[in-house]
Every structure is written in structure tokens, then in C-alpha cells.
């Protein structure tokens, strides 16, 4: 029992930082598809000052290894995340979150942050395509 708990606690945490309610909706979608929220947390920038958003992201990530997914490059979400974690090598940051990358992430949380981020990006890229019927 204690071994199982230790392994679970060693797994990566995922934090989504977005405009409006996108982050929460993505967590809900992951849960609907997988039956598990995969230790994903959502942070919204709505109503947050730059300092307030930094504090919210910091609290959501905590002190354990994590991957932070932000909605778009150049947003206040990315600014806050970079300000908070530029000095931490156990936090990987991915811009341009989508559902496919989160679904890959929740099943590969045993990897290092960099490995999990690279996998997630690859999954996201493969998911974007023109579909012909």
C-alpha cells in the first residue's frame, strides 16, 4: 500500500493555464473521456492581475515535478508561468494546449517533465489534420 502511494505521488502533475473557462473545460473533457482527471488542475486568468496569476499558477503546481500547459504563446498565461518557473528544471512548459496532448499526458505521467512534454506535443501535432470523408 505504501509503495503504491509512493509511486502515485511520484507521478507528474499537470496544470492547465488559460483564458476564461477553457482550462476547466479541458479538465472536464479529459475526465469524460478517460474517467479520470489524471491529476490535472485548471487555472484561469480571468480577473487576475499579473501578480495574482503568478500566485495562482504557483499554488496549482506546488513543489513537485509538473508540466504546465498554457493556451497560447504570448499570453498573460505564458508570461506568468515563465516568470514563476524559469528557475525550475523540474517543470516543463508547453504552449498551445489541446485535448489530444492532455489525453497523452495523463497516461504518461511517470516520465520526466521534458519527456512527457515532448510526447504531448507530438500527440497534439498528430491530432491536427484535414479530414477527408
Amino acid at each position: 500500500m505504501s509503495t503504491s502511494l509512493r509511486i502515485l505521488s511520484d507521478m507528474l502533475k499537470g496544470v492547465i493555464v488559460s483564458h476564461a473557462t477553457l482550462a476547466g473545460a479541458l479538465v472536464a473533457a479529459v475526465k469524460e473521456i478517460t474517467g479520470d482527471d489524471g491529476e490535472l488542475a485548471a487555472v484561469s486568468n480571468t480577473g487576475e492581475s499579473p501578480e495574482g496569476l503568478c500566485a495562482a499558477v504557483r499554488a496549482a503546481v506546488g513543489s513537485e515535478p509538473a508540466v504546465v500547459f498554457v493556451d497560447m504563446p504570448g499570453s498573460s498565461c505564458l508570461h506568468a508561468t515563465l516568470r514563476e518557473f524559469r528557475a525550475r528544471d523540474d517543470v516543463a512548459i508547453v504552449a498551445g494546449v489541446n485535448l489530444a496532448m492532455l489525453l497523452d499526458f495523463v497516461f504518461h505521467r511517470e516520465l520526466t517533465p521534458e519527456e512527457a512534454a515532448a510526447r504531448a506535443i507530438s500527440a497534439a501535432e498528430r491530432s491536427i489534420r484535414t479530414v477527408h470523408v
Binding site: 480577473g47 492581475s49 499579473p50 504570448g74 499570453s75 498573460s76 505564458l78 508570461h79 515563465l82
Partner: protein
């Protein structure tokens, strides 16, 4: 008149600005006016991440902006001025009469501020400074995104 927007927004370059205003105004240059950012290369690189292709970004101190504003307003490059706080806007407006309109687009809670609009929080001192800017002949309105209606200072300061 190449300066198409002068905006106070504590997030400076971010989604509403680059996706909303820059595209709506067809701006080709963003001038971020802030003494602290002007002296911090890491912060400049951070803000430059959000600038779309085809748009130039320039970082200036307030004094540099005052010196350059006439030339920038006279060239053909449609330009957005971004400022993080009311005091910086006051210093800029005190140094030039080229700025005729200031848009307040986002000032968040904290530092003794109270809510004036859902996206504008001001301390009493900041409200007084904005009134001072207006009394100097500058139109001051609040408007978060281009599709919203501009609200005159009298209604919220």
C-alpha cells in the same frame, strides 16, 4: 497620425492586445513604454514572444518615448503604445501633446484599488491622475476589446 492606440494595461503585450487590438487596427508596430522593462532583457524577450509576425516591437523608457513620439507619429507605421500603469501614462502625457486619447484596457485588483468597471480597478490616487490627464486635454476612455463600447472617464473614475 500613426499612433492609433495608447493603452494602459497591466498585462502589457497579451492576448487581447495582439489578437484583438493589433489586428483590428492593422497595427504594425508595438511600442512598450516602461522604464523597468526597458532595463530588463529577459522581460523584453518574454513580451516579444507574443508579438505576431509582421509586427515590430520596440521597448522604450518614458523619456525615450517622449523624445521619439513626434517622429513615430509622423512616419507611416501604424503604432500601438502600451503602458502598464496610470503614473507612466501621466508622465508620457505630460511630456508630449501628441497623445490625444488614452484607452484604459485592464488594471486589476490590488494595491488599494477598488472596482470601477469589471476590468478596471483604481486607487483614488490613480483616479485623480486620470482626471488630471483628461483635464490636460487628453480624452480618457475605458474599453477592453475593440468590439466593446468605449466608456468615458466620467462614468467610472
Amino acid at each position: 497620425m500613426s499612433i492609433v492606440l495608447t493603452r494602459i494595461d497591466d498585462r502589457l503585450i497579451h492576448g487581447q492586445v495582439v489578437v484583438g487590438w493589433v489586428q483590428a487596427l492593422n497595427a504594425k508596430r508595438i511600442v512598450l513604454i516602461d522604464d523597468e522593462v526597458r532595463g530588463n532583457k529577459w522581460e523584453q524577450d518574454l513580451y516579444a514572444l507574443g508579438v505576431p509576425g509582421g509586427v515590430e516591437v520596440v521597448f522604450m523608457s518614458v523619456s525615450e518615448a517622449i523624445e521619439a513620439v513626434t517622429e513615430m507619429n509622423g512616419d507611416a507605421i501604424r503604432t500601438v503604445f502600451l503602458i502598464a500603469n496610470v503614473e507612466t501614462a501621466r508622465r508620457l502625457c505630460d511630456g508630449t501633446d501628441i497623445i490625444t486619447h488614452v484607452n484604459v484596457g485592464g488594471l486589476h485588483d490590488g494595491n488599494g484599488r477598488s472596482e470601477r468597471l469589471s476590468y478596471v480597478y483604481l486607487s483614488d490616487d490613480e483616479a485623480a491622475l486620470l482626471l488630471q490627464i483628461r483635464d490636460g486635454g487628453v480624452e480618457v476612455t475605458a474599453q477592453d476589446v475593440p468590439t466593446a463600447k468605449a466608456v468615458a472617464l466620467e462614468h467610472w473614475a
